[in-house]
Point group: C2
Chain length 460, copies 2
């Protein structure tokens, strides 16, 4: 009897869909990447419980059947996209919020809960879950953990790794590892949850999580500034760090071509004039509305007076705040003004980014005459985004990747700041990690998943 | 030729001391624990470079010689104390500060740099390294990382794990793993540094680290409050979290017996009267001195007016701040007023601590009639400290341990909040971790150190 028949007999036909009934198209792509043509999926499982996940993995491990874990399929690096015949294991039916403990500042959830549902449940409890990203309406919290998601508020609250206190994960052989710690301090042995956060489902399947909750921010202050050059950006960053401390929640830098795309190219009036050297969007989130706004205007006012910034607009309403963020978020509208394009998510030490942007642009223009590039990023987090609009058709994607990633490697940056490795950056991992590091990753993979059934073909 | 002779020939007699010249007494104990009588050390190595560490480990691994890594020997759990014949590997000669990058907010150091030296170097650069603990004058930063040190500012800045961006570690076979990442966002494959943080030198020897630096706090506000009971403490904590947000840096709770020890028993005038149900020391660290103090008095004033707190003293000078902290720090003076004693460092979900304190006291009094107990802790971090003064001589240490740790296990707490497992809690690890978790720890240990040469007999 084949594994689908066995699992259907064990768990029921509602939990395991065979080839006849499974919705393979939906389970064959993420936000950007599709499975290779002709990959034969053998079924899709929708477990309701950790025990069912364990049962499925035990059976697949014994039979040597590959398993493709999937969350909300909002990834950008192909980590959830099947590359070879496999059983898809979707966590989407494990969507219970199990507990909110306001005193501990924790929420315990199943892995398939949608990020936005977590955000709303925290809000309803008078608390705040800070992870936020474009896919919030369909991304699942287990996938956010498996990929160590970043997003818009990392500067203030950290990456997903910093927002997870405990996990339950199922190992390749079906062993259930329950580490649902609710305590900020816990040094009782190795911190095993770190193995499953950011390893993209290659070392185990996260089934439940304990998340950290925070007090709701009471104030948000937002401004857009125009500056002459990157050294001025670094000066402004020093002032923002010293002046705002732990309330600084965003420091987004936009180079001029990007600023033009986000404003006049999309038919919007630029809040500060085009033609400056570089632009910064600053945001703070505090707990004292009156004092926070005064402080915000004080620190930015001094930067203007001292000539660090040339012009500034401070948002005076929610509508103005949204208008400033719409410029930064314009990559969602690139199909109208900058298409086709290839986007990159890399990181470099913050102080070097200003130097590297023109160098990287020059390398791309040398290799691909006529290419257009726009740069932007969460630079206080060391994160640089880059979009490349090639002139050739079809786009020489791999060749462009190679130029960008080899430069990033040479400059000791990371080829993935927040999107992960998945399949699309796997061939470039050596630019950011040494042979010894990759060997240790493989050692961990072999120790935890000796038959290689978990998300094969990903990361390493 | 024995291994000492080989290593002396390879590296020089200054780097490797044999039995004739090694200072074994100094390398045979930490702050609280001594090596068992008769443990024969074979030598002490003081490598100056990562390459020398690698050379030593490669040779010891080939020869099957156990290696005892040591930092500043300020640990409390025996993690650095030899339990069997071994070569001591001291990092104390690797004490260079390699780089401070103010834009990235990082300091790159060798593992043997003393914590206080790191703090001072950050301060001299106009920045702040927040880790702080009693052993700062001799604790080494590599040991702080290997034990995931906690201390006084975890609430505001996190544990040592949150303060390390990159590590270089040497594996048991001598492989040098260089992951000196300086970037906040880096999702390029598995986050290998997590293996070495908090694993107490059992998976590899940390040789260099990239630390996170922060802006210097510009304001410190401190107060001591008296309350009726633990529910009032939780109410105050909610107000403090909501009112101070990310600036809340300490929330220390003291039960009455502890408060009496820290004040009148030591001949000090209590800042607020004895006889209240429970006491809280609150501190914030902000960036806006005038506004921060106003906010501090506003939030605490409201707690008094609303009857949440019964009395309060807000420090108006550095001397007053120090006087308030001296009460919380009185365990350093326990030899005068509460001796002998056995101290515990456990964690429990914050909301349950108030309930568990009298339960744990009752269990101890039932098991050991006449015993005295005092409770205090960083409860917003979930961390509870407990000191037990037994009436029997010799102290029934193991029996007291068993009562405390089995209770903590039953209540799903951690037997080690911040001090680690070392040797002294190893027999109790099963109270806080499942059989599956311990099996996975052993699997990691076997994969990374198949000959078991690194810090044998510790943690698992």
């Amino acid at each position: 009897m084949d594994i689908i028949a066995v699992l259907r007999a064990d768990l029921g036909a509602g939990v395991v869909h065979g080839p006849d009934e499974a919705d393979f198209p939906r389970h064959s792509r993420d936000f950007l990447n599709a499975a290779p043509d002709g990959v034969a999926l053998i079924g899709v499982a929708y477990p309701r419980t950790t025990e069912q996940v364990s049962h499925i993995l035990r059976a697949c491990n014994a039979a040597g059947v590959a398993v493709q874990p999937q969350g909300g399929l909002t990834g950008l690096a192909g980590g959830g996209v099947p590359q070879a015949p496999c059983l898809v294991l979707s966590l989407e039916r494990m969507r219970a919020i199990l507990e909110i403990d306001a005193d501990a500042g924790t929420m315990t959830v199943e892995a398939g809960v949608v990020l936005e549902t977590v955000q709303k449940a925290a809000d309803a409890a008078g608390l705040f879950f800070p992870l936020d990203l474009g896919g919030r309406g369909s991304a699942q919290i287990g996938g956010n953990a498996a990929t160590n998601a970043g997003g818009n508020r990392v500067l203030r609250y950290g990456m997903m790794r910093d927002l997870v206190l405990g996990v339950e994960a199922v190992l390749a052989d079906g062993t259930v590892l329950t580490s649902l710690n609710k305590m900020i301090k816990n040094n009782a042995g190795y911190d095993l949850k770190q193995l499953f956060i950011g390893s993209e489902g290659t070392l185990g399947i996260i089934t439940r999580l304990v998340l950290r909750l925070f007090p709701k921010p009471q104030s948000v202050s937002t401004a857009l500034l125009a500056l002459d050059d990157y050294p001025a950006v670094l000066d402004l960053l020093r002032r923002a760090r010293a002046g705002f401390g732990g309330t600084l929640s965003a420091f987004e830098v936009m180079w001029p071509d990007f600023y033009t795309l986000g404003t006049s190219a999309l038919g919007r009036q630029p809040p500060v004039a085009e033609g400056h050297g570089i632009y910064v969007l600053i945001e703070t989130m505090g707990t004292d509305p009156a004092a926070d706004q005064v402080r915000f205007e004080e620190v930015l006012g001094a930067a203007l007076e001292d000539g660090v910034a040339q012009d500034a607009v401070i948002a005076q309403s929610d509508a103005q705040t949204q208008a400033l963020w719409a410029i930064r978020d314009c990559p969602g509208e690139f199909p109208k003004v900058f298409w086709p394009q290839i986007s990159f998510d890399v990181s470099l030490p913050t102080g070097e980014i200003g130097l590297r942007v023109p160098e990287l642009r020059a390398r791309l223009e040398r290799a691909f005459p006529g290419v257009r590039t726009v740069f932007f990023g969460h630079v206080a987090d060391s994160n640089l985004h880059l979009s490349v609009h090639p002139v050739e058709d079809p786009m020489p994607v791999h060749a462009i990747d190679e130029v960008v990633y080899s430069a990033i490697g040479e400059w000791r940056g990371s080829i993935s700041a927040e999107h992960g490795i998945g399949t699309i950056k796997r061939a470039f991992l050596h630019h950011s990690r040494t042979a010894q590091e990759i060997a240790l990753m493989r050692l961990l993979k072999a120790a935890l998943d000796p038959n290689g059934i978990l998300n094969p073909g990903k990361v390493i």
